[in-house]
Amino acid sequence: MNGFPALEVEKRRTVPRWLQFIAPIISLVLALVAIGIIFQALGIDPLFAYEEIFNGAFGSSYGFSETVVKSIPLMLTGIGLTLAFRARFWNIGAEGQLLIGATCATGLALAFPDWPRWLIMPLMFIIGFIGGALWGIIPALLKARWRVDEVITSLMLVYIASNLVNYLVYGPWKGPEEMGFPYTSKFSEAAQLPRLSWTRIHYPTLIIGIVIAVVIYLLLTRTKWGYEIRVTGENPSAARYAGMSYLKTLLLVMIISGGLAGLAGVGEVAGIHFRLRYPEGISPGYGFTAIIVAWLARLNPIGAVLTSLLLGGLLVGGDAIQISLGLPGATIFVFNGTILLFVLGGDLFARYRIRVKSKTEG
């Protein structure tokens, strides 16, 4: 007919383990090659650029500490997303869940400035978790009950969360001593997370993140419920025939996924800013970057700890793109976007194969 051999995409029956493991690595390398071409086109030696980025993120104690700081919210949020994505629930709204977590913790810190640390700190984490979880189950309910697409609802809820934060910091929560600026008052010392030495690493949140990664991993691999998540994700109707409750599974997944994003929000206000401010001031899109974290980790919660460090390093090392290499600040977005594209593409090729069909066959 048209003289071209037809290409056919077909699903692999089984995805070999080695391929699952190697696919994201190959994707990452290919992404770096693609970005290298962009660097080359801009007149910068790609190897030099990568060296600068690597040194910026991991080459000095200062750079590495900042990488860890960045990785904390990415880790918590990313771990939650591995769970949601395993259930094939496309939670794009982690950013909103993070903001709500930050908001709830702030409310508590502002309401009880006299409470001692041993009381206020755990409560802030708990209420942050609850807030994020509540924000997370809205799209889950809508999906399970009325089959509303969660991509839309979870994303739209980000804007609602963001406007809620705006409303609070410009309105009722505006600190009286902040001269009209959209800041809440600063948290009491008790409500500020301790930091590691001279760094900005608020280590309690980091410890929580790592412990939770292990916990979720155990949940997924060792419990009946973990099995249910996987079945629900891979084949919802089979799960239903097997007597698994789609609603229950989805709700539990989103309570944890949203709750963990909420914890990330608590870490940011209690560990970095010590107050709530407008959304751009709290999170430069951690909830979205965490999507890359989860996919790069092949939806493995422990893997997410490592990939959050990688992404954190990329963000911190990305400073070098501007400062040392003199490229526009927006280059880092090209960088991140390219990596996500390649990782998602790599995932496709891991699960599907492409066959060239000769004309006669068709």
Binding site: M121, Y170, F181, P182, I207, I208, L219, P284, Q322, A330
Partner: protein
């Protein structure tokens, strides 16, 4: 392990985690332990490095663009000066850039050019006592942290005079970025100008909650026009509002606009009446010269507040440099007259230039914020014979009479 056991382990570990958070030591008075790399030589060097942290892209054609022009100006002025900058720095990330500029780039003076950078700049000033910091548009202080601002309120007042004279509908719109004192002050000054010429005119406000969002600015402008507005001023770092004005004007509905921050006259040749222009270069020149000569050091910036107005040359009237008013509107402005208590009957055009002379006078013979000034509810906020103080202007959070917008509370 059975399911139950796993849940026990999970519950236990969660409790452990909570305990870690709870038992973490109470913060001690912060002792600054600085990593080794910080030991950078800071003697009176023959050269100096000034670093700039920008909130937007340098190509925004607004705030950041203007600051960058200032940076380029000083770089050209002083051969002993080296500069570096970072653009599009998200406010949540400023601490990292501050660290990097001080530790790795060894900057002697760091300028942070967004009010959202204020917390971070103060923290950095305390962490690095040997570096000089200057924060733009804020109020926090430290021995090595100064404040600077080139403020537009006088220029906005002049724009308001023109808006009051030109508007046919008496409905004037303002597209505001963030509802913070700086923007509220500008909207008030603009409204005071409008009211001086046309006491029946109103100013309505739409907030964007963003410094740079051309799409939202366009939407807000169109919404205001749909509500009957024919004159638009704004605070947003792109020419979107002027472009909307030009489009409507070309389509037969004249919309008068006032350019903001950069010379946007070319985006609205038939629409942009005038606007506000800034010269950050002269502030940077003064700061850096004094820092270089040792007039400023890390112990005496506590009370340094640059507050450059028209008199100092920081704020300039016009949609283009060297053109205070778009000539095609001159006749219209000359045709409208007002009666001033001191000046008698005077055309708006002449009033504007009289006011410029008064405000540029070393004694600043006139200031827009001179009482009596009432708020939206008719409360007397500034008494007759009084002028708003620097402190009042810096924290103003109420709208003047004649403004029908609202400040989120």
């Amino acid at each position: 392990m059975s399911d139950k056991k796993i849940w026990h382990v999970i519950a236990l570990s969660l409790i452990l985690v909570m305990l870690t958070a709870a038992c973490a030591p109470e913060p001690v008075v912060e002792t600054v332990i600085v990593p080794e790399e910080v030991e950078v030589e800071k003697e009176v060097a023959p050269t100096m490095k000034a670093c700039f942290i920008y909130v937007g892209p340098i190509g925004d054609y607004g705030w950041t663009h203007a600051h960058n022009e200032g940076r380029l100006y000083v770089e050209e002025q002083f051969d002993w000066l080296e500069t570096a900058y970072a653009e599009s720095v998200v406010e949540a990330d400023v601490d990292r850039f501050l660290d990097r500029f001080v530790v790795e780039e060894a900057c002697d003076v760091v300028f942070t050019t967004s009010f959202g950078f204020m917390d971070g700049t103060l923290a950095a000033a305390q962490k690095y006592p040997d570096t000089l910091f200057f924060h733009c548009s804020g109020f926090m202080r430290a021995p090595n942290l100064g404040n600077y601002m080139a403020d537009f309120y006088q220029v906005y007042y002049l724009n308001g005079l023109m808006a009051g004279a030109l508007s046919q509908t008496g409905k004037i719109g303002y597209v505001g970025a963030h509802p913070i004192p700086e923007v509220v002050r500008h909207i008030n000054a603009f409204t005071l100008g409008v009211q001086e010429v046309n006491p029946d005119a109103t100013v309505d406000v739409r907030w964007l909650f963003s410094w740079y969002d051309p799409a939202a600015a366009r939407e807000a402008s169109e919404a205001l026009i749909a509500a009957g507005v024919d004159t638009l001023a704004f605070t947003e770092d792109s020419p979107a509002v002027v472009e909307v004005g030009q489009e409507y004007t070309e389509a037969g509905t004249p919309i008068y606009t006032f350019s903001h921050y950069s010379p946007m006259g070319d985006f609205g040749p038939d629409s942009a009446v005038s606007g506000q222009l800034v010269d950050w270069g002269i502030i940077y020149e003064d700061v850096l010269m004094k820092a270089y000569l040792g007039v400023y050091d890390n112990s005496n910036l506590q009370d340094i507040d640059y507050w450059y107005l028209m008199r100092e040359g920081g704020a300039i009237l016009g949609a283009r440099f060297d053109e205070p008013i778009n000539p095609i509107f001159e006749d219209d402005l000359k045709a409208v007259t007002v009666t001033d208590a001191f000046l008698g009957e005077i055309s708006v055009y002449d009033l504007i230039f009289t006011r410029i002379d008064q405000m540029k006078d070393p004694a600043m013979l006139f200031d827009p914020f001179s009482g009596p000034i009432y708020d939206q509810d008719g409360n007397l906020m500034i008494e007759a014979g009084q002028r708003a103080s620097y402190g009042e202007l810096l924290s103003i959070d109420w709208f003047v009479e004649g403004n029908i917008g609202s400040i989120p509370r």
